[in-house]
């Protein structure tokens, strides 16, 4: 096996592969998903209930309610648009504040307001909204709660917002899409166009072609993983360990991609193969979003040994001793895949010959 021939094929692929559909898909999809998560979890998927208001006159309620970080606030021009927003589910609660409301409350009442509750909103969301609204009205009335509240948090963990919990899944998506699709599509495309037969007539061997394509997948997979972490500014306290984990993850993904490329005969087959494995590949990430599901199930998935080390290092500042066993299992998986690719590749090479 010649390193210079491998590098030549790699160089050619680096120039021409970016034009292919699968390459573009592998790069664009994780970036689009990152953008969507960033946008959605800043708003509708933040877990915060939403409240809308119509103000008929001057009131301090708007300023007071916006200070409450646990509610999403919006203002509407008319009752009809407010009710439409509630009915569509955009708001959990809509409130109409009449003219002179603040003065009525400060005088000691009676003060009146109308509220519109979305029928599908959860009771706990309504409870949170009413608690926040009560707090605002108490402050508006010039009264105070005459106690000091001391907050005690049990345990030593700090929970992460749900948007942040998506980060390891995004990294997994970036690594697996690039590592799987890029080498697999490059090999299958060469098979379909019959340029693979042409290449193997040259001094370059089938093994060198597969290694070059795998290297391409490895490079892109690693780069995409790092890029997603850069975009989210989430390297944790141990970037060296994180880079090692990403490199091993990229190696696993590209070995898997090489195996798919060697086995599959057509790009349509590759597309269906990828489609069918979505849940198996991203299973650990999806399961982590539902804490009520027993998390031991995730350990059955091979990609758990990528997902969990990334999660532990980026979010819990884990060290090598914390994720050592998982990295060892990942190394075993990489070696196993490499051996399988080698033997299957040998068999397939004979078929091409």
């Amino acid at each position: 096996m010649s390193a210079s021939r491998i590098l030549t094929i790699l160089g050619k692929d680096l120039v021409h592969s970016p034009k292919s559909f699968h390459f573009i898909q592998a790069v664009i999809t994780p970036l689009l998903c990152t953008l969507m998560v960033y946008m959605l979890f800043g708003s509708v998927l933040s877990g915060k209930p939403s409240i809308g208001f119509v103000f008929d006159g001057e009131t301090e309620i708007s300023d007071l309610i916006q200070k409450l970080e646990f509610l999403r606030f919006s203002e509407y021009e008319s009752i009809d648009t407010l009710k439409a927003a509630v009915l569509s589910g955009k708001l959990d609660l809509g409130v109409s504040i009449p003219t002179g409301f603040d003065q009525d409350v400060r005088k000691g009442g009676p003060a009146y307001l109308k509220s519109y509750i979305w029928g599908e909103s959860l009771m706990k969301d309504r409870a949170v909204i009413f608690a926040g609204l009560s707090d605002v009205l108490v402050e508006l009335a010039g009264k105070e709660v005459r106690v000091d509240v001391k907050t005690i948090t049990l345990g030593n963990g700090e929970s992460k917002p749900i948007g942040q919990r998506f980060l390891p899944l995004l990294v997994l998506l970036a690594i697996m899409m690039s590592g799987l699709l890029i080498p697999a599509s490059a090999i299958v495309d060469e098979k379909q166009r019959q340029t693979l037969t042409a290449v193997t007539v040259t001094p370059a061997s089938f093994e060198e072609v597969v290694v070059a394509k795998s290297l391409l997948g490895f490079i892109m997979s690693f780069v995409m993983g790092v890029l997603i972490l850069v975009l989210n500014n989430s390297f944790g306290a141990n970037p060296g360990l994180l880079f090692l984990t990403l490199a091993m993850a990229a190696a696993f993904a590209s070995a898997f991609g090489a195996l798919a490329g060697v086995l599959l005969k057509s790009l349509i087959g590759l597309t269906n193969f990828g489609k069918s494995l979505i849940l198996i590949i991203y299973g650990p990430g999806i399961l982590s979003l539902f804490p009520r599901i027993p998390q031991w199930i995730a350990k059955v998935f091979p990609t758990y040994y990528i997902f969990n080390p990334v999660l532990e290092v980026t979010q819990n500042n884990a060290g090598l001793t914390d994720i050592g066993i998982e990295l060892i299992i990942l190394a075993i998986l990489i070696m196993t895949l490499t051996v399988i690719v080698f033997f299957v590749g040998k068999h397939k090479k004979l078929q091409i010959a």
């Binding site: 009676p110 706990k124 608690a131 709660v145 106690v147 509240v149 948090t153 599959l264």
Partner: protein, 352 residues
Amino acid sequence: MKAGPIGTLIKKDLILLFRNKALGIMPHVFLVLLIVIYFIMPSKVNEGLKLAVYGSAIPQILIDEMAEEGVELVYMNSEEELNQGVDDGDFIMGIVIPSDLLHRISSGERPEVKAVFGSTTLPAMKKAELKFVEQIVFVLQGEPLNIHTEEQILGPDMTGRQIPMRDRLIPIFALFIILMEIMGVAILIVEEHERGTLSALLVTSMSMGSLLTAKAITGIGLAFLQAVLILAATGILISNPLILLTGLLLGSMLVAGLGFLVATLGRDIMTVIAWSVVVLLILFMPAFNILLPGVMSNWVNVIPSHYLTDLMHRAVHFDARWTELWKNCVILLIIDLGFLALGSFALRRKLA
């Protein structure tokens, strides 16, 4: 148009499909996994909030009022029991109120009330839950606000019967499976065109109409059967079976027309896949309104699949009947026939 050649072509397509492990078997593995995930996901929605309380007695009227708002207050025998309950996740928070709270407030003191949280409570939710403490203490202080609220519930009141996420997802899974067949139908046609077998078929007694009919039936059949399978396996089909089957059939017919159009647009399989993804993403947008109500603007209602998602959602979750859903069926049928006509015309021109 003769039934014989159509049946033969359908049989041929199905045999070739299942002979190809990637195309024939893997999608069904995916289907099975979706069904497994459905049964793993929680079947109930945790609607209310449970708070543990220790110390001063809280008036029953306040306990009842908070229960109506979805907040259940549970008295603990000791602070240790309260802490254990919060740590175990049985309660979202614990409140320790001094038993002489009111006495100390009336004598001008500011007594301390403890709010105990578990380690998994998010910072924003801690702030929200602290408001419950203040709400309780304010009522105990005996200074009620003279504010009257007129409440109106908009839409069906789902209190106590909220739709679990897994049940929201199943019609969406069914829609996804149906829409994926757009790619399947388009690929069936383009593959034959690329291999040259299409021209060979047309040289035989098979007419273009029979060929397109056979492809349409294969695509519709696969889409319909897979969607029915997922609804049946998860038990969702039991509610309003006739309406759901009609909706799925009409949705599957949409696949045929759009599949023909995509096959016209695509030069080869890769461009067909690219176009299919674009079409699929557009058609999938109405599904977001079921998962995340209020996320999408009203303009999404012009997308044809809105009528299918709306039909399935209302039939499954709100027990809507024919009188409420017939319009969706009629509109879907018109759209289906329109796309079928357009797709057939475009494809005939391309293949002629």
